[in-house]
């Protein structure tokens, strides 16, 4: 095929400029900055790997942030995907008015990261808020969800589960790809619904589950907006909502420790890469693509 180098690079020009100026150059300089002390006013001061050393050895808030974020990912993501899959299976059984229900279930996911929803959640779990008012009906006096460090994280987990809509839509699209005759053939052979789910639905849906898992895990690590609003901007109570990105924001834009914040960003990149690599590595044992068979 004839090459159209000149024209193609004209079309690519905006992206190329952006790619070098806003991605490549920043990646390189962020790594360099992570080896310095830098407050944006005076010049960066090279300190080698001291930021990383301090982070891993002395910074207990870094470990706190990791703990909070890992717990959130480990609990939030499976529940969210489980919900998304369950509701998708339910909706996939041929319901009239599917598009209406689908839209309703998707709506929280769409509004999800807005500040308005953060504000709402703060009131819903307020000591005198909606949830405790409902509990009072049942004769239970609810805790102060958001000021108790033992319960605060669960409000955020509930918020992320409430937003199961977008993985649900992806599951629905995946379920639609599964040929109907597989179910018909197997039910003639006397397979139970449960067996069909394990032997047909799950294996054929594996690529979609994999896709959702990767996407949602990365997203969960990057959670910021809602937590910022719910925790009043500082991860309180007692750092129980100190999500990783929130800590990074504090270091960079409240304490202006740009070098240290860059080091935090690099550690986040490495954590996310490790997770993604593990998923991809293990996927060959549980994800089969149609074309490989």
């Amino acid at each position: 095929m004839k090459k159209e180098n000149f024209a193609a690079y004209i079309f690519l020009l905006p992206w190329l400029v952006g790619f070098f100026l806003l991605t490549i150059q920043p990646i390189v300089s962020s790594f360099y900055l992570s080896l310095t002390e830098y407050d944006t006013v005076s010049d960066p001061y090279f300190i080698g790997f001291e930021n990383y050393e301090y982070m891993f050895v002395d910074d207990y808030r870094f470990w706190e942030a990791l703990k909070v974020t890992f717990f959130f990912v480990a609990v939030g993501v499976p529940f969210k995907l489980g919900f998304a899959l369950a509701i998708a299976l339910w909706l996939n059984q041929g319901v009239q008015g599917l598009s209406l229900y689908r839209a309703v279930f998707y709506l929280p996911s769409l509004l999800g990261s807005s500040v308005a929803v953060g504000i709402l959640w703060r009131q819903v779990f307020h000591t005198d808020g909606l949830v405790n008012y409902l509990l009072a009906f049942l004769g239970i006096s609810g805790p102060s969800w958001l000021s108790d460090p033992d319960t605060s994280i669960y409000t955020v987990i509930l918020l992320t589960i409430w937003q199961f809509g977008s993985p649900m839509l992806i599951f629905l699209a995946g379920l639609r790809q599964i040929p109907h005759d597989l179910y018909e053939a197997s039910s003639i052979d006397g397979a139970s619904k449960f067996r069909q789910f394990w032997k047909i639905t799950l294996p054929l849906l594996a690529p979609v589950i994999f896709f959702n898992l990767v996407l949602q895990t990365i997203d969960a690590f990057k959670t910021f907006n809602n937590v910022f609003i719910i925790s009043g901007g500082n991860g309180s109570p007692v750092d129980s909502l100190l999500f990783y990105t929130l800590y990074l924001y504090q270091q960079g834009f409240e304490f202006f420790r740009m070098g240290y914040a860059s080091a935090l960003a690099w550690v986040l990149l490495i954590i996310i890469s490790i997770f993604t690599a593990i998923y991809f590595y293990t996927s060959k044992y549980w994800v089969y693509y149609e074309s490989e068979k």
Binding site: P14, S29, S109, L110, N225
Partner: protein, 275 residues
Amino acid sequence: MKQNRLLKHLYLAIASLVMLYPLLWMLSSSFKPESIIFNDLSLWPSQFTFENYPNGWQALRIDFSIFYKNSAIVAVFSVIGNLISCAFTAYAFARLEFNFKRFWFALMMMTLMLPYHVVLIPQYILFLKLGWVNTYYPLIVPKFLAQEAFFIFLMVQFFKQLPRELDESAMMDGCSVFRIFFKIIVPLSIPAFGTAAIFSFYWTWEDFFGPLIYLNDIEKYTVPLALRAFVSAEDLSFYGESFAMSILSLIPVFIFFIIFQRFIIHGIAMSGIKG
């Protein structure tokens, strides 16, 4: 059988109500007087007031019309920038042959996975040195440089589906690739542009992190930043007013959702864009 169907609708209706209850509660609370908000679970206010809206609109030093104007400026330019620059890039990747194409494409796809935080601080420093902090440039200019790889990917997928013969016959007639892009590809790709425009609008309308970092003066705040000011002052019992302003901020999102539902749901199913 029929009973079964009814039962299923009943369950689905209950599930829908549970999902929407918090939002509906916020909506109805925005019409309740301050004193009864937390003593009234019903979705229909027992006492009805409109006051939260005008009061909330003017609760901060600057009134909300300014914040909406600011948000609209950022959103409009972001959508335009994203559409133009991503369409250009996608066209090159989808329809043209050039040296190092696979290399660039792989790099572009890798940026999809890259957490924003790694480039955040050097970008901030760059914009700081350009004197762009506390202006809208850091929020808008990157959009003209095709930095949302999701939209590029979405458009590449769409452009690839368009029949090649169109380009080839136009080429025979002596059309340049530029003419082909503007006269053939663009008019046929309205659905893809629609999906990209809607998501681009959502992301900028709801964007909180960007404005939080780059905008300092309250005169320049976008709507989400202004809402956050309510939270800071919150224990002074502004609930009704903050609910009213929150509801208002969701209305554009909601209206777009009603109108463009098909685009949105199709777009997510196709590309896995997050909501």
